[in-house]
């Protein structure tokens, strides 16, 4: 009874805080949970059993997009989903989402809890929410001051997963750091990845995607860096940040048949035999025009298990429902053709991960195919606004690999461009901004980039980074303040405008852009 009282008091308080947040137009994605958890610290573990399925999505990049896509697929299939969709992905954010979903009579209103989980919070969140399906997107260097090093981050996940009694894993096979998590676990694992033959035979006007870094002549080598000494040209263009190039089991350098980006690709260890697992979900035949097109080959053994029935919501305890066993029976592989209103090669992985989970949950192919076309990107995931007749794209950058993928997509777009790049160093951004120097900002020395306005708390640091990356000084401007930086951006005569921002700047820029343009703001909630 005491637990019941604590939980219900916490529920009331969280409603009160949520209401107050709304009153003051504060998003309140985390604060209600923070306060409610003070009253009932075990609230998440008390609420989670009410769901038929608890799905957790973790990793460095792509968590929000994968989770939002999956929520969209599941809702299209008729499921109700409780989801921390606004990116608040530590325990208080998860608690806020579950409280929001809970009826005052003490039931959850949804059947599925879909949780985006910060990679540093997997210990706490998994212990409380006990997910039965865990999706891992990738591990890249990110916010080292919070997570120290990747070895620690992956060890955290391994421990958190090992403590779950029954869990299925959906893992990115192309990332050796992620694939290693599936090995040696008693749990079932499904793997997704992108094949080498990524070039689609798409229609005449559709642009082929170039995914392999370094093979793209437009990036790095173009622009005013041509006259540079070889030593320096090598430094600015070279080294893409690659983590996990060494075998997680024996420390030998991994050999790659091919790379996509970062450390993602087809790899093997010549010493101990560790290699990319066989793909249950393989993407190929990519094309990009207005839509991002791809084919996914689904291996026969996948998605053939017991599907989640869409019948009456069960009010019972989750442990009463058996976690379905993946059947080993082999059916013929089948193809799934998808076209998504997204940009950038990295989104292939997000679509692939969301599709894999949806198929495993029993969502039909036609539902996925039609739902993916109506997906709307979340705030700052290459979100489009219109300002004075010009396109302005808002994108989140938070670590070198993610930033590189955004930059690559940007450079491949035709026309002159002006940018605001806003770098903050608050806790959620990472306090150490050294990561900027590991990203390939050298591609911004391209003559198509007419102006880069440096903004945010670390505008001064970023201007130095651009200077050494080879961007001509006359194209660099320092306007730290947000609204002023946007005014300068709009004053530029470029064809296209971009705002790239770290996390704590993102929502404020989204708000300002929404006010200014009021145009085609696309939001997922």
């Amino acid at each position: 009874m005491t637990a019941w009282w604590r939980l219900n008091s916490a529920l009331l308080i969280s409603r009160l805080v949520s209401g107050t947040c709304r009153l003051f137009r504060y998003p309140g994605t985390s604060l209600p949970g923070v306060i409610a958890l003070k009253i009932c610290p075990d609230a998440v573990s008390l609420m989670a059993p009410a769901y038929d399925r608890v799905i957790a999505i973790t990793g460095t990049n792509g968590k929000t997009t994968t989770a939002n896509l999956l929520a969209h697929f599941l809702r299209a299939a008729g499921y109700s989903v409780a989801h921390n969709s606004l990116g608040a992905n530590m325990l208080p954010g998860v608690a806020t989402a579950l409280f929001r979903d809970r009826r005052l009579r003490g039931q959850s209103s949804s059947r599925i809890a879909l949780l985006e989980v910060d990679e540093g919070s997997v210990g706490k969140v998994f212990a409380a929410a006990r997910p039965d399906l865990v999706v891992v997107t990738n591990y890249f260097r990110d916010q080292l001051d919070r997570y120290w090093e990747l070895e620690r981050t992956t060890a955290l996940l391994r421990e958190a997963v090992a403590r779950l009694p029954r869990v299925s894993l959906v893992l990115n096979a192309d990332d050796p750091l992620v694939a290693a998590i599936g090995q040696g676990q008693a749990q079932d694992a499904r793997y997704f990845g992108v094949l080498k033959d990524i070039q689609g035979s798409g229609s005449e006007n559709s642009k082929k995607i170039e995914a392999v870094h370094g093979a793209d002549p437009e990036i790095g080598s173009a622009g005013p860096m041509d006259g540079e000494p070889a030593a320096i040209a090598g430094l600015v263009n070279a080294c893409e940040t690659r983590e996990g190039r060494f075998c997680q089991h024996c420390g030998t350098a991994l050999t790659y048949n091919y790379f996509h980006f970062g450390q993602l690709g087809d790899y093997y260890c010549s010493n101990c035999g560790f290699r990319r697992p066989a793909l249950d979900y393989a993407a190929w035949g990519l094309s990009e025009s207005e839509l991002l097109g791809m084919s996914i080959t689904v291996q026969g053994r996948s998605g053939s298990g017991e599907a989640l029935s869409a019948s009456k919501p069960s009010a019972g305890h989750r442990s009463a429902i058996s976690i379905r066993q993946w059947s080993a029976s082999a059916a013929a592989p089948r193809q799934l053709k998808l076209n998504a209103p997204l940009r950038g090669f990295y989104n292939v992985y997000n679509i692939l991960a969301a599709t894999a989970v949806a198929v495993e949950m029993g969502v039909g192919d036609p539902v996925i195919q039609s739902a993916v076309q109506t997906y709307k990107p979340a705030t700052g995931r290459m979100q489009e606004y219109t300002i004075g007749g010009r396109h302005c794209i808002l994108a989140l950058i938070k670590n070198p690999v993610g930033a590189n993928e955004v930059l690559k997509t940007l450079i491949q777009t035709a026309g002159s461009k002006a940018l605001v790049i806003a770098i903050n160093d608050l806790a959620a951004d990472g306090r150490d901004v050294s990561w900027l120097w590991d990203a390939d900002f050298a591609c911004l020395a391209h003559p198509d980039i007419s102006k880069i306005i440096c903004a945010g708390l670390r505008a001064a640091d970023f201007a130095v980074c651009l200077k050494y990356a080879g961007v001509p000084l006359e194209r660099i401007e320092l306007v730290p303040e947000r609204a002023a930086s946007l005014r300068r951006l709009i004053a530029q005569p470029a064809d296209k405008l971009y705002v790239l921002a770290t996390y704590t700047n993102l929502f404020d820029y989204a708000k300002l852009l929404g006010h200014r343009g009021g145009g085609t703001e696309q939001n997922a909630h």
Partner: protein, 251 residues
Amino acid sequence: MRIRVCHLYPDLLNLYGDRGNVLIFCRRADWRGIEVQLDQVSLPDRVKFSDYDYIFVGGGADLEQGLVSKDLEQKGPLLIDAVEQGVALLSICGGYQLLGRYYRAQDGATLPGVGLFDLYTEAGRRRLKGNILLQLAPELQKEAGNHREEELGTLVGFENHSGKTFLGHSVRPLARTIRGHGNNGEDGTEGVSYKNAFGTYLHGPFLSKNPHFADLLIARALSRRHGVVDLAPLDDALEINAHRVMEGRLR
């Protein structure tokens, strides 16, 4: 004039924007018309370090530092030899620790280091991290002002380490802490200075907001073969601004 740069373990020790430190050093030499030769040297390579003018060693994660530590059993004596001959060297964070005498882990186990610097590091309980402001050692301060109009006596950066480093008698600290923890959070020292070799915990990358120290390193690197060199002042408005913004935040 030519400057020969060795980037040691670029594939293993590259944790905190270390590539930036090499880029800044090379660009500032190049902007002065000095021809830059850059070699990347890693595990299997056998080189004579005394053939270089400047060696850079960054920081790495545990797995990578373990691999490096083993390799340094062979390369270490050659590195010491080079520094004794006057080759300039900069080491950051993990690289800085590896060049000391030893590292003592939480459980008391001792891992031997190269012994290039007379210092040792022991595992600490808390993480020493945050932005940091330092007063450059007096003997370096004047020298760092040689190649510019405006003298800059401070260093700024970001520290993030749990190891606590203690200096021996035959080396000097690089700087004293004004704000932040420094070598160990206890004695007010930060980094090390020995002949033309330096070590520090500062990221940022270190040289990005400390152009005066980058120039000091270039001058030291050239000194073995060229004696006292006169480096033309550069337009450092952006770098100095970034230094001042951080200094203003911390004072």
